[in-house]
Symmetry: C2
Subunit: 591 residues, 2 copies
């Protein structure tokens, strides 16, 4: 963190903003901003997850939202000097329907970027701390319903005639965190999940997996990981935590339940959803439908020429969980991003002979190095400085996506210098490295395409040492009965081929469950519209279709890593709660 300042310049600026907005004086507001300015808003003004860029866009946003937002009560809560010319201020404000929280960054007294977020809806605040429930109505009562009885009724209610207001398809971390937020907002919610138990989506993955992000970045809302929790959570331990969490957060969670179809009824403004619960058909009529089926959609499978002749086994990485059957076998892993690396290590540990086929360059960064340079606000040091995970999340969100590349490029320049030997050895082993089309590294790849990178927790050394062989820069021509033949005429033998070839967009799940027309109308999820490979423009400025209204009403997407799921679950839950209560304002900049 940086030195605190007395905040008087920042306070004057905020006061000016509050006055200008109160008068709905757009020109006076614009005068407080640089030409090159950004206003990022989560639900407070736009009822959207939206960044407007530049004065013209800002003016348009304000003209269309101020009348119904009526923001007021701007209060500075903290200010700090980031650099000699840069001040960051934290503030609270109120809108027509609730309370807000934000961060603005001033350069030489004018605003470069501002983040405004809705934090609560008036009259529907979460019961917490001083407002927590009593848990018992003191006094004897012959009609008492105990907690256990109420909970049992709730668990059976959705199968006996009641409908949830919100149905979440997918009970992994994203669905669970969103479910917890909705529960605390008293939105009747059902989570359905194919696997039997909460946490199974982690448990089912390959044996050696541990989370690649550190504990400070991975907290779930309401119940943070305890102080003795490991930095990198093993996958089965994460599974147990999610299972515990779903239980003590009192979620209504149907494991072993598949969503077969969903159809939106325009006249009734709700969905008809067909489920198979432990094989039994159940029909529900929720008002809101959330797809939380994972950040990724269905597996992408390559159709390889000659596949019918190949005598070995071909599977997608999503079907792979355990290498123990592959000892001594020749395994070809197609794909060199995260799952390609992880599967290769798991196979090598099991005693397989592994060749990784790298079809395009990969961004690699060592986990230790990432911990050292990239998690400053999510760390033990940050906690010691009073930066808890909610504070860190808001700090991270204060920088709009458009402003991330320069600092990310600087970070990766530093990392490349720091780990120069490592990268040289990796290239000498034949591995194709890149740091993104604009050298901005891993995180920008994650936001743009969610693919093409690996946080090294061990595979790279195996590649450097030749234990995992690399076949790079050459196309697969066809499969032979005994292996893979390449476009340069070379061949390698294979008993097993594992396609670590990624996943389709989440909107493909909508095509399966709703219909193709709706899926196409919505379009792909994720990506920023950066115009880089696999992230076509135009520029969106936020993740496409995630956590916000999409082209199909009453349908939402939720997902991402633990951190994004945690942070955005708050704003998605508020959007859903506002609709349940009839409080939602017009969507600005919608699909």
């Amino acid at each position: 963190m940086h030195d605190r300042v007395d905040g008087s310049e920042a306070a004057r600026w905020l006061s000016g903003l509050g006055d200008a907005l109160a008068r709905a004086d757009v020109d006076a507001t614009l005068a407080l901003f640089h030409d090159d300015c950004y206003w990022r808003d989560f639900v407070a003004f736009t009822w959207n997850v939206k960044t407007v860029e530049g004065k013209a866009a800002l003016a348009d946003m304000l003209r269309r939202t101020l009348a119904h937002t009526t923001p007021s009560g701007w209060q500075i809560t903290d200010a700090e000097t980031v650099s000699p010319t840069e001040t960051r201020l934290w503030f609270t404000f109120t809108t027509a329907v609730g309370k807000g929280l934000g961060i603005a960054t001033l350069h030489d007294g004018r605003c470069r970027s501002i983040l405004t977020t809705l934090q609560s809806l008036d009259g529907h605040e979460e019961a917490s701390g001083p407002t927590r429930p009593l848990g018992v109505r003191h006094g004897a009562d012959r009609n008492r319903t105990t907690w256990a009885e109420a909970r049992a009724a709730e668990l059976s209610g959705f199968e006996t005639g009641q409908d949830p207001y919100c149905l979440i398809i997918g009970g992994g971390q994203g669905g669970i965190m969103l479910g917890a937020r909705l529960r605390q907002l008293n939105v009747p919610t059902l989570i359905v999940e194919k696997n039997p138990r909460p946490g199974d989506s982690w448990r089912n993955r390959y044996r050696s997996l541990v989370l690649h992000d550190p504990v400070w970045y991975d907290h779930l809302p309401y119940i943070p990981f305890p102080e003795h929790w490991p930095v990198f959570t093993p996958k089965d331990k994460m599974g147990d935590w999610l299972e515990m969490y779903a239980k003590v957060m009192e979620l209504v969670y149907w494991g072993g339940t598949e969503c077969v179809s969903a159809r939106f009824d325009e006249s009734e403004q709700r969905w008809t959803v067909e489920l198979l619960r432990d094989g039994r058909p159940v029909t529900l009529r929720p008002t809101q439908l959330v797809f939380a089926t994972g950040a990724y959609g269905p597996p992408k499978r390559l159709q390889l020429a000659g596949q019918e002749d190949f005598r070995g086994e071909v599977l997608h990485s999503s079907q792979y969980s355990d290498g123990s059957g592959y000892a001594g076998k020749k395994v070809v892993v197609i794909g060199a991003a995260s799952s390609g690396h992880d599967v290769s290590v798991d196979l090598w540990e099991a005693g397989a002979e592994v060749t990784m086929i790298q079809r395009s360059p990969t961004t690699v960064v060592r986990s230790e190095t990432l911990m050292k340079f990239a998690f400053d606000i999510y760390s033990e040091e940050a906690v010691a400085q009073g930066i808890d995970v909610d504070t860190a999340d808001l700090m991270a969100a204060a920088t709009p996506f458009a402003l991330l590349p320069p600092s990310q490029k600087a970070l990766y320049d530093r990392i490349r210098e720091y780990d120069a030997d490592f990268y040289r050895q990796l290239e000498e082993a034949g591995f194709l490295l890149d740091f993104g089309p604009d050298e901005t590294g891993l995180m920008m790849k994650a936001y743009r395409t969610g693919s093409g990178y690996y946080i090294d927790v061990g595979a790279s050394q195996l590649i450097i040492d030749g234990h995992i062989r690399i076949k790079a820069g050459v196309e697969i021509d066809h499969l032979t009965p005994s292996g893979v033949a390449f476009s340069d005429g070379s061949e390698i033998e294979a008993d097993v081929i594992i396609q670590s070839t990624g996943f389709h967009s989440m909107h493909e799940v909508v095509a399966q469950i709703v219909d193709r027309r709706t899926a196409d109308r919505i379009g792909p999820c994720w990506g920023l519209g950066s115009g880089t490979r696999n992230d076509p423009g135009p520029w969106h400025g936020e993740l496409r279709n995630m956590y916000k209204p999409v082209a199909q009403q009453n349908l939402w997407f939720h997902g991402g890593n633990l951190a994004l799921s945690r942070f955005f679950s708050k704003f998605l839950a508020l959007q859903i709660k506002a609709r349940q209560e009839g409080l939602a304002g017009p969507i600005y900049g919608g699909p």
Copy 2:
């Protein structure tokens, strides 16, 4: 809280104490204390839970402990003015084996009472925060053991030849919290519990039960209840929390397991324990044996004349869980303490006709009133002032038992005035009230005998309104075929008699599992030796036989409410860990 002071007087006092102790100068140390002084020590000096009272006792304690304790490094961490003449200071110190934390209260510059506690053992500190485990060894490893594999081995290990260092009999809240502490100290520990699942000891209790203490007082170590948790936890919700806790704290917990017998082998210095796990015999050889079978021992049952003639049902309150079978029945509840009241309400709610037989006066205090006046350091307000549960626990422990009665009497004088109408109505209904032999109220009764009180959450109004009838101040003479006959010649009809007559001391469980001779050598658990009814002298100054060495080596008792179990589990775990590592010093003031 009180105004902070600059601490210079307090700092000088502590510096003087440190110097005198460093020189082992007992006279100089005594000069820093009032004649009427108290030194309460948890493990740091005495390897005991011990209070010495007065200068002669203090001198003796110091002469016998200073040489091996070698306390040093006394550092003041906080000081506050409690009253014009009273200062409280917080400090840290080190001993020959670890780090300590304490609180001293100075009156006019000299010490009235001091608390010293051992907090950690050097080289065996809990891994937490900056020292938390990494959770993964980065790098590929063909001999990798995953977390899930290590955990599975641990869960099966004690049945396949390994012995736990510590065996805890009883997997309720006390056993679970102690097990969690030992786990974090890397002491191989097994918890055995008769009920199938962690939390069942709460779930099995009567339907309407909620915790009588508020959430701020009830936290478990490591994973505090979240901010939305209810003030009073319903029993089944508590059960779920304990079950979750045992799992995510990675305890080795055998449900469905009965401890049949335990025999200490003097030559091997360990126990031979016979268990029945799901009916199968298992023999284990733990070094340390902890009885955590509940704050209470076996049920106390009355042998009533004529019981064989009585045509109805007679059961002990511990066998009662659900009133639904008693609708319309005449039920006599013998006993008017907590369980007598709770069972009566539960029966009335189920539609029974209830008469409570009160054999001796009861201390009653309304829950709301207790919350208002007695939980100041365990409250939302305290949390807002930075007093977390660990801080509050230490503050509470800073007052030795001998000094509690005056402030407790003042508290109950205030409560009796505040609720005068309530108490008048209760007495008018025929209920016999008392506030303890010295008018010190509920908490002193809890420490002295653990019986004879009720925190009113509804029963008292039923008594006032005549819904629960009271028969008080008269002895039961005998049972008739259809009811109860009293010494004054009156009779009442009864279909069912429920004996809410309390429990024997925990040491009776030792008689059952080890032998009578050992149990008698140890003597009763709980109580202070106050010389009041059911708490015979001599004065002990601490709870008898709880959390500290007893007359049988390698045997320990743990229990009490959530707060006591939480707080003392730390010191009992440190005593056990010190023995495992050969670090424990001589016991001062032992049994």
